[in-house]
């Protein structure tokens, strides 16, 4: 069917791509825009490895057509930190051993980022409930939860210091 030009902002930059309506957002992000952070895990909206942020919402990008994101503002893991300037969450995952194989990590951190926007000071239970849409088969979650709680504390301390 007719391809259409899709315009979307990804990590602060505007991109225009030509895509069929049936193309899923995760593939357009990875293959047409070059953001390889969102991973294709289960492709059935269970695992959360493809999680990105769209207009302030955590979204599994395997369960959205790119056409639905026409005009949207999207953040992937690439938009949160860089190899030389890691995001607090990335540093915290590294320090607390919150990853082993790393496959779930981009989705996990992107989701954790939105969780902390909505609830800057979560309890352990709220963290676990908040990442319930992301599966990790390595860590057993314990260190992921620790990493998110520690990042939250660090962000809050930095905010307080700035005031």
């Amino acid at each position: 069917m007719t391809k259409q030009i899709l315009k979307m902002t990804v990590n602060g930059e505007t991109h225009e791509v030509l895509a069929e309506p049936r193309e899923l957002l995760v593939y357009v992000l990875r293959e047409k825009i070059g953001m390889k952070g969102p991973h294709v895990g289960c492709e059935t909206s269970h695992c959360g490895a493809c999680t990105v942020e769209i207009d302030g919402k955590s979204v599994k990008s395997c369960t959205m057509f790119a056409a639905q994101a026409q005009g949207a503002n999207i953040t992937t893991i690439e938009g949160l930190g860089t190899p030389d300037g890691l995001h607090v969450l990335q540093t915290s995952f590294k320090e607390h051993h919150g990853l082993q194989c790393g496959y779930c990590t981009p989705g996990m951190i992107t989701r954790a980022h939105r969780l902390l926007q909505e609830n800057p000071n979560p309890t352990e239970e709220e963290v676990r409930f908040g990442i319930a849409g992301n599966i990790c088969r390595c860590t057993g979650y314990q260190n992921i939860v620790k990493a998110i709680l520690s990042a939250a504390a660090e962000i809050n301390a930095a905010k307080e210091a700035a005031q």
């Binding site: 069917m1 049936r22 492709e43 909206s45 599994k60 959205m64 057509f65 026409q70 969780l115 849409g133």
Partner: protein, 284 residues
């Protein structure tokens, strides 16, 4: 998993959406949050030559509360239901139920309209809406009409909605008293093995009114008038809860699937219904 090709439509008002549906008949489907429809399209179990995305239609969004009447636009997401404090004050059952649906990402996309209109017996909101005695508004080529949630569901994926109609809003009264949505599921994100919504109002230490409905225990949600009647005038003592549970269990018709055999589902249902009644009573 790549769905079959389709034409993508993105109308800006309800009239535009209805005319696309009227033009293409059963070749067209509306897309709300997409978290039931898109997986079906990827599996090629749903063939949708014309997909009508409703996201630009502002008339389908928003929650309004006037006195005790609550109106919810069909495109309101589960996340928006959960985070709306005035809605929680008016109808706390909705937040309790929505929090038990899927996971955070799915709740950011999944909508109340999609959940009630899809007709999947596993969806939680149809039973909740029957418990709340909600009214659905449908708009189609012949105009607007309303239908009660308790009359809407005919069989699995079959509802009173015509192919060319769109479920545009849900309206219901604010509730008083106790409420509970109790759900047994195998893991986060799963559909219910059994779930039950209960509303209870009490006067002078006894139940003055009650409503009980169940999810995923038949091919449609089950609203049990006789179960509710069994609680009236009681103080939800164990014998009263047991007669309500027994009454409710006569109205369900679960089928064996990967959540278990029929006997197991009936067992789980009994426990879930009793817990829902007890929690609603404790809050009444």
């Amino acid at each position: 998993m790549i769905p079959a090709a389709f034409e993508y439509h993105r109308p800006i008002d309800i009239g535009g959406a209805v005319s696309i549906l009227a033009e293409h008949g059963d070749e067209a489907r509306v897309l709300a949050g997409g978290h039931s429809l898109i997986p079906m399209m990827k599996l090629r179990m749903a063939d949708v030559p014309h997909l009508v995305d409703l996201q630009d239609i502002t008339a389908l969004k928003g929650i309004t509360i006037e006195d005790t009447r609550v109106t919810i636009g069909a495109m309101t997401t589960q996340h928006e239901l959960i985070t709306h404090d005035a809605l929680f004050a008016a109808v706390p059952l909705l937040r309790e139920a929505a929090l038990q649906i899927a996971d955070p990402q799915v709740r950011h996309m999944g909508t109340i309209g999609g959940n009630v209109a899809n007709g999947d017996p596993g969806n939680d909101m149809p039973g909740v809406m029957q418990c709340l005695d909600a009214t659905f508004t449908l708009e189609g080529p012949d105009g607007t009409r309303t239908v009660q949630a308790r009359d809407f569901y005919e069989a699995a994926y079959l509802t009173d909605r015509d192919d060319a109609e769109i479920l545009t809003q849900i309206s219901l009264n604010a509730t008083r008293g106790g409420y509970a949505y109790e759900k047994q599921k195998r893991k986060i994100g799963d559909y219910a093995t059994a779930a039950c919504a209960v509303l209870i109002e009490a006067e002078n230490g006894v139940v003055s009114s009650a409503a009980i409905s169940m999810t995923n225990l038949s091919d449609v949600p089950v609203f049990s008038e006789t179960a509710a009647q069994a609680l009236i005038g009681t103080s939800c003592e164990p014998a009263a809860v047991k007669s309500a549970v027994d009454a409710a269990l006569t109205e369900i018709d679960p089928t064996e699937d990967n959540r278990g055999p029929v006997q197991f589902k009936r067992h789980v249902a009994g426990i879930i219904i009793a817990r829902a009644i007890e929690r609603a009573w404790a809050r009444a």
